[in-house]
């Protein structure tokens, strides 16, 4: 295989790339000029659609198609750039914004032109302090150079761009949750339809795109749809910024065509180069926590939008891999996953609010050494009864919550059973009493029942 020429990350190591001058010297804003001066908005949408650019935020929805859903007779259009990156294990947006902020801004300008946007909001999570200062500085420079504001590049196209900072909520990464949060309300996802393309921020037609999606637009406009499609696999075109973390030798970001195998990402010489201290691999969560887990045997799974589903995963997600070492206690991993969703559920839909809470309580009980074999069945059953797929929730957060729980319990069931059988007798009763004294001291939860559970 010929060595892949980086696209998104080509300027990451260039000295001073955060400044506009250096970015322009490296070919920056050429694509935006090409789009604004020589192409009509429809042509830009056609090109991006032809390139089969699938959204990089997790769901993999084609970006060009999303833009084409906007009503034709609209007066005002808003663009939201989703930089609320909170998926555990994911940091490709952070890397894109801190290493090459202008690339993302150029992408926002192109997407804004294609959708005839009047105002673009970059919704950035508040924990990105350094990235905020970097991006705001870059935005000021771009404003001063006339890439944002009135009459951009003398073409008569006007668009404003603002950075809006979030306040620490995972659910605001969901597109309608983001919109509600932007309007100054609780980040509660809206019932769809109406979809944001028809009624979004301030009840105006709105497009929400991920940072990486916009960064890809720049290169599609510059080098054409056919070039973009020649990278990656037929269903999943283009380059992708893979990220990897956990106890590997070189954690970090690696750019590769879509369709990289998980094993290559962990062990490849160009990638993470294997595990620290020669540890074994127990499993790998390949695309941000919500997609589910791959076992050591399944590591040859190709990470693109379609293939991962064959392994019982939700999707590609954000391609942020977390490697679980062989010496990790799977019960702790389960508890950590469950705690995340219990904390971040917005509380709007009952089955998600209660379900994530119960999953955490059960997982915590198992992790504390008070598990029961039937808890595993209980978790599996719970995971069948939450989310958009059974049609019970407004947003996809509970779907993301059940996949890791379900796959961890299914794929590591043997280990769970072994751990549960090895628990000290009587420990369960003691832990449960400590966790919830009042409930478990009721006569109906007597010692005999608990002792029998172990």
């Amino acid at each position: 295989m010929p060595r892949f020429e980086p696209v998104l990350s080509k300027n990451f190591r260039t000295e001073g790339i955060r400044s506009l001058d250096v970015y322009r010297k490296n070919g920056g804003y050429r694509a935006a000029e090409k789009a604004l001066k020589t192409m009509s908005p429809e042509q830009v949408i056609e090109t991006v659609t032809a390139a089969n650019l699938r959204g990089r935020g997790g769901a993999g929805f084609p970006a060009g198609m999303k833009w084409s859903f906007l009503p034709k007779d609209r007066k005002i259009t808003n663009l939201c750039v989703n930089a609320d990156e909170s998926e555990p294990g994911t940091f490709n947006n952070r890397v894109l914004m801190e290493n090459d902020p202008h690339q993302m801004l150029e992408g926002a300008l192109i997407a804004g032109y294609a959708t005839r946007t009047t105002t673009a909001y970059i919704y950035m999570r508040v924990e990105f302090h350094e990235q905020f200062h970097i991006l705001q500085k870059a935005l000021d420079e771009a404003y001063a150079a006339g890439y944002f504001g009135n009459n951009i590049l003398g073409t008569g196209f006007s668009m404003n761009c603002y950075v809006h900072r979030g306040a620490g909520a995972y659910v605001c990464g969901e597109e309608t949750g983001l919109i509600e949060s932007l309007e100054g309300k609780r980040g509660w996802p809206r019932i769809k339809p109406p979809f944001p393309a028809v009624e979004g921020v301030f009840r105006r037609p709105t497009v929400v795109n991920n940072v990486e999606t916009l960064a890809c637009c720049v290169h599609i406009i510059e080098r054409g749809a056919d070039w973009f499609k020649s990278i990656g696999t037929p269903g999943s075109a283009g380059p992708k910024l893979y990220t990897i973390s956990g106890p590997v030798k070189r954690p970090g970001w690696y750019e590769a065509p879509l369709g990289l195998s998980c094993r290559d990402l962990i062990f490849g010489d160009d990638f993470a180069q294997g595990m620290l201290d020669g540890k074994g691999v127990k499993g790998c969560i390949p695309g941000g926590l919500s997609v589910g887990v791959l076992t050591e045997k399944e590591l040859d799974c190709k990470l693109d939008f379609d293939e991962v589903r064959k392994f019982g995963l939700l999707g590609l997600g954000t391609a942020g891999a977390i490697v679980i070492p062989a010496d990790a206690d799977i019960r702790q991993v389960l508890m950590n996953c469950a705690r995340f969703y219990a904390h971040e559920s917005c509380g709007q839909c009952t089955q998600c609010r209660e379900g994530t809470g119960w999953m955490y309580k059960i997982a915590a009980r198992i992790a504390l050494g008070a598990g029961r074999i039937e808890d595993l069945d209980l978790l599996s059953e719970l995971s069948q009864n939450m989310g958009m797929m059974p049609g019970l929730s407004i947003c996809g957060l509970p779907d993301g919550a059940v996949y890791p729980i379900r796959t961890i319990v299914q794929k590591f069931r043997g280990e769970f059973e072994e751990r549960i059988r090895a628990q000290e007798p009587g420990r369960a009763a003691e832990v449960l009493q400590r966790l919830n004294r009042s409930a478990y001291s009721l006569p109906i939860f007597g010692q005999s029942r608990l002792a029998g559970a172990v």
Binding site: P88, E130, F157, S181, K185, G187, S245, A342
Partner: protein
């Protein structure tokens, strides 16, 4: 967690408390109005501005924000109670935010947490007696390649080791961020057009 309220003290509401927001802070909040179509949308920026100025957003501040944004105080409280970033009671001078998500846990965040708690003598969601530090844990900080990581106010500390915690906490400059800051953060530009007309019509 929807069913468990962390870090909330029952507030004492003073009916006739003196105003806490000065004119400069109010003006700064108003400067965000041109960015959005509704005044309510300036609420998150307003809360950030007030928290930066006062350290936390108490009941009186909420009431005054509501006044500036032409909202009901309850609407401000509705929003503020959803987000973990805002403090409704006073916090330490520096807030330590430790990541507790999977990558960091696998790389030893539990040991770092224990070291911080031992060093400061406080638990999670508590403030040290001298008012220097508050300690919270948060879900993923999106810096998993540098796990375990923590935020000291705005500064991200990467690959923190439990053994280095004492040294880190003793360093007075442990929250210094040497990045150029934008002047425009406080003074956004007015929009191209505030009217209903479309500046980018169908060609």
């Amino acid at each position: 967690m929807a069913w468990e309220a962390l870090d909330r003290r029952t507030a004492v509401i003073e009916k006739d408390a003196p105003a806490v927001l000065n004119e400069a802070v109010r003006e700064k909040i108003r400067s965000f109005f041109p960015r959005y179509e509704t005044k309510r949308a300036a609420l998150l920026p307003a809360l950030h501005v007030v928290q930066d100025a006062l350290g936390h957003v108490d009941w009186q501040a909420m009431r005054e924000i509501a006044e500036v944004l032409e909202l009901k105080p309850a609407e401000v409280f509705d929003t503020i109670s959803f987000y973990t970033h805002f403090w409704t009671h006073d916090k330490g001078k520096k807030v330590i935010t430790l990541c507790r998500s999977l990558s960091c846990q696998l790389m030893g965040a539990d040991a770092v947490k224990a070291a911080i708690e031992k060093q400061l003598g406080i638990g999670e969601h508590e403030t040290a007696a001298d008012g220097q530090y508050s300690f919270v844990t948060e879900e993923c900080l999106a810096a998993c390649d540098h796990a375990p990581c923590l935020l000291m106010n705005e500064k991200l500390h990467r690959r923190v080791k439990a053994d280095d915690i004492a040294k880190m906490l003793a360093d007075p400059n442990n929250d210094r961020l040497d990045l150029p800051r934008s002047d425009l953060f406080d003074a956004p530009k007015p929009p191209a057009s505030t009217s209903e007309s479309n500046p980018n019509p169908e060609p």
